[in-house]
């Protein structure tokens, strides 16, 4: 009986997914709106009243997220470290191609730090450098990172990278340097000033960014209507980055 139930659930989920795909392309995703990120006064700390999140509609990404990755590279200056081998290069965000073995149906999605509510990287960090801000953004406080790379091991999304070499001329708003771990920080420097993350600006028709705690925000409305699946939902991490059309 339980097997049958499991099968039914799976079937219904598939149906739901199809329905979501159809809806998403027609109804919700409009262009990025300025009101998604209200500007915070510079001298005020972030509050836990908001939780930043992102909803990515995979079907509406014409390039599978490649332009989002490029925008991230430009914003934070990673991906071109002069001495690193290709497999050593930092990778804050990457595109992953998924193919169904039976039907050969395939799609590509961008994967970066999922900004979990219960982040495993924060659990394992021996110094407290891997941290979650009050507004739900998970990031590395590089001032106290000792470069042990436990967080890289713990992250189920392979979202973190290690800098192996001395760097110069980093972006002033995005410090990165030898011996520290780094990852997507949801463009904290932009969000704190009321701007959207760089990757969201690069794919305005496919991505909604906003406050998950506010039931009236565009992202909450969209997720209420269409859902928003997590990658590895079985881990119960309650990710802040959600996908449509997986």
């Amino acid at each position: 009986m339980s097997q049958i139930n499991a099968y039914r659930r799976k079937f219904m989920a598939t149906l739901g997914g199809v329905a979501v795909g159809g809806l998403a392309s027609s109804v919700i995703l409009r262009t990025v709106q300025a009101g998604d990120v209200p500007a915070k006064p510079a001298d005020q700390p972030v509050s836990n009243q908001v939780r930043w999140g992102m909803l990515i509609d995979v079907n509406r990404l014409t390039d599978g997220g490649a332009s989002m990755v490029e925008a991230c590279k430009r914003e934070h200056g990673w991906g071109n470290d002069p001495k690193a081998r290709p497999e050593q290069q930092a990778q804050w965000m990457r595109t992953v191609k998924v193919t169904d073995k039976l039907t050969k149906y395939s799609f590509t999605l961008p994967v970066m730090c999922q900004h979990c509510e219960e982040p495993p990287c924060v659990d394992v960090c021996p110094t407290g450098a891997s941290m979650k801000r009050a507004d739900g953004i998970v990031q590395v406080n590089k001032h106290i990172c000792i470069g042990c790379r436990y967080c890289m091991m713990a992250c189920p999304y392979k979202a973190r990278s290690f800098v192996h070499e001395s760097l110069t001329d980093q972006r002033p708003h995005s410090p990165r340097g030898i011996g520290t771990v780094e990852s997507c920080n949801l463009c904290v420097h932009r969000v704190d000033q009321g701007q959207l993350p760089a990757c969201v600006e690069a794919a305005p028709n496919a991505v909604i960014f906003g406050d998950l705690n506010d039931p009236n925000s565009r992202i909450s409305q969209a997720m209420k209507a269409l859902g928003g699946s997590q990658i590895r939902a079985d881990l119960s991490l309650n990710t802040g980055v959600r996908y449509l059309g997986l």
Partner: protein, 170 residues
Amino acid sequence: MPLLSHIKSLLGLVLLATLLVGCDAGVPEPNLAPAKAKAAQCVEPTADMRKNHMVYLDVHRDKTVIEGIRTNKHSLNECINCHVVPTREDGSAVHYTDEKKDHFCASCHTYVGVKLDCFQCHADRPQIVENINYQHKLSSNTYHLSAQSVQPDMNDLLWLSQSQTQGATQ
């Protein structure tokens, strides 16, 4: 005998003095020109800054990274924007590791032998390629570090003309 010992100690003193003078001549002068250039315009008094700049920076960095407070006053980026010129007159980039020791922070830190860690991660010079007006404004058309005034932007002109007309009517 006491006379001889006096002479001995005197000789010793003279020898020590000459040695000290010799050492003194050997110490290189620090290049304080970059540090003095902007001292009067700093956000804190010079003496306070000289002693406590790392306290200000440490407090601010924790507030910024952990709490998201991004004020300009004690921000390292603003220190760099004001005190470091991005390129020398010959067009070469100014870095804190350069032999010339003309980077604002390095000019003093190398002299006193205190290691600079900030710039392993942080940019050590302003980035002007994408942000030409990187220096913070002193008034409507003068920026830190620029002796010559730059072209005022449209908003400033509008504001100016408005205030002038108001003044005329009064």
